[in-house]
Symmetry: C2
Subunit: 346 residues, 2 copies
């Protein structure tokens, strides 16, 4: 009896999808502050207020996730019945934004929890399930919301606590990517061709206002592993995109990578660090599942379709922070999953 | 441009895995009350107390999950480095039991949240990822813990609240299944050959002490869909296993299925309803991710290997209950994923 080496596995933690699914459509809905940020012009919809007609921030977040999927489906000219599986998650306890959105959509649903890494977790899983011939289509969608996240993870907004400069601002936003298997894909198109599954890495960070420091070692670990598994280097990518390391986390990750002789300068794009304009006073930058999700599903995809980027590594980064266990003295581990996106065709 | 019909998809929500992975090993660790229950003789390890030398129930739960995976690996004579991916989850906020277990194990990790449905969610995803040729091996593992769950979801144990008869007792336990792709599998062996992805179903239940009622419609929906997609009936299975509907939830699901002309009597096995002996006074039965996980990974697998069952439908059932959104007046939806396990060989 012998184990069969998986045909689409590369190195220790990576996969290369032989029949990669293509991106049929993407959508992004963002909060008003995000709308005033650097990518504001590229989001499909910007909320005027963060309740969006709902009674609570949590219900508004769930509506945002549901409507983002509906918007992406409309762009792909597909009905919910034509989506075989929905993969999604969010930051709220029991991923309620996603569960209630899935209830409204009625699409078979795999719930995920990867904190802010969930956009790349959902994309990597979705791409393998479609690429493996199990589903024709998959919707990958995540959300986060500044007010619901602050309430759950830190302090009630009403307290008006001052935040340290290392703190990031949870992005109010939801992003969705519809993947599908096509016999004759349009030209150009974007394909999800593989990626690297992250490990949970803990370097002993215990400051709940410095998530970038908790995530940087995980981001670095996944990048090093990816290059090793795929026998590639920074030169093979037009952009190395991280989720929400923020200003300080990005600096820290750059240092960790330099120790491994990997130099990402000029190619390193952190969605959190880029999200807001300097004048918006968002301290170390944006964070949350929605941060990388709205950036990928608007700006990045737009630039790829325009021919500016041909191959990017998209790696949402998650700080696995939990108030309950933090109070018991545990440190904050991180995780980062990497997904390779390629522009194909003329 | 045309969508390619997925080769391994069946009907609307089901898959049939052409090269199904086999179960290399399973393991189960259970609490002392579970150890005194109906399957006590079949668990690999029974805890003497529910802290297991740790400072908190949450840390004890995480240790239980980690040690269950290690035990399963030892049985399979595999080292952590030989496991390509870990898929797991639990009931705690931010799935901390799983995240910290994944940190200790160092295996690339996809975090899941499906409430008590997570054992079948992890098995179905793991089976597709191995069956699709992306990974050679996968570990699927979940946990739950009576004390950590009560503290988080209901009332502090110290209050000594009386529980209604409809209440179920969250099982303290962790189960793990190691899946692998084999060229010449042993005879007999168990293969994970397919399944049905559940939808989030909500019938308006708002009683946090009656989870069985919240899950029964989801269980019924997935069973109906499974038979329709696979063109099968109850006769095709030796056992229809649900996770933790409990005494009342199982009765309710039986009624819902009868309305669809599906009669499961004699084949219906609910892990929650069976877990405890009558004298243990566990009210409506066991619940939690661990309930179906320890039953599957001991009793069910043992009986299949002994030749008593040849094909079973294993369907862990999740009540997507969240204290935060329940306080905002939302009802409790449920979800259930079904996995087909087959005994193959002599």
């Amino acid at each position: 009896m012998a184990l069969i080496q998986a045909a689409q596995r590369r190195g220790a933690h990576s996969v290369e999808i032989a029949a990669p699914p293509i991106v049929l459509a993407t959508a992004s809905i963002a909060g008003d502050m995000e709308g005033e940020g650097r990518f504001g012009d590229e989001f499909d919809k910007i909320l005027e207020d963060d309740l969006w007609g709902e009674e609570s921030w949590e219900k508004a977040e769930s509506k945002m996730l549901e409507q983002t999927v509906r918007l992406a489906l409309a762009k792909a000219s597909l009905h919910e019945d034509q989506i075989d599986v929905l993969l999604g998650g969010d930051l709220l306890n029991q991923i309620i934004a996603s569960n209630y959105a899935a209830r409204q959509l009625g699409i078979p649903f795999f719930g995920l929890y990867g904190a802010c890494s969930t956009m790349s977790e959902s994309l990597l899983l979705g791409a393998m399930l479609v690429g493996g011939g199990f589903f024709t289509t998959a919707a990958c969608a995540v959300s986060s919301h500044f007010s619901s996240a602050e309430r759950q993870y830190r302090n009630p907004l009403e307290l008006g606590n001052q935040r340290p400069l290392s703190a990031q601002r949870t992005v109010t936003g939801s992003g969705a990517t519809i993947l599908g298997a096509f016999s004759d894909p349009p030209s150009p198109h974007i394909a999800v061709v593989g990626g690297t599954v992250g490990r949970v890495i803990d370097m002993g960070i215990d400051d709940v206002n410095n998530m970038g420091a908790a995530m940087a070692p995980a981001a670095s670990d996944t990048i090093v592993q990816h290059f090793q598994d795929m026998n590639r280097s920074v030169d093979d990518y037009d952009l190395i995109i991280t989720g929400d390391l923020g200003k300080y986390g990005q600096m820290h990750a750059t240092e960790l990578l330099a120790e491994q002789n990997i130099y990402v300068e000029g190619k390193f794009f952190d969605c959190g660090e880029r999200m807001f304009k300097e004048a918006q006073d968002a301290h170390a930058g944006g964070s949350g599942c929605g941060c990388s999700a709205i950036t990928l599903n608007s700006h990045i995809v737009n630039r790829m379709m325009a021919g500016q980027y041909h191959r990017v590594l998209f790696m949402a980064t998650g700080a696995l922070m939990s108030p309950g266990i933090a109070q018991q003295g545990e440190t904050i581990p991180g995780v980062a999953h990497a997904v390779i996106l390629e522009r194909r065709g003329a």
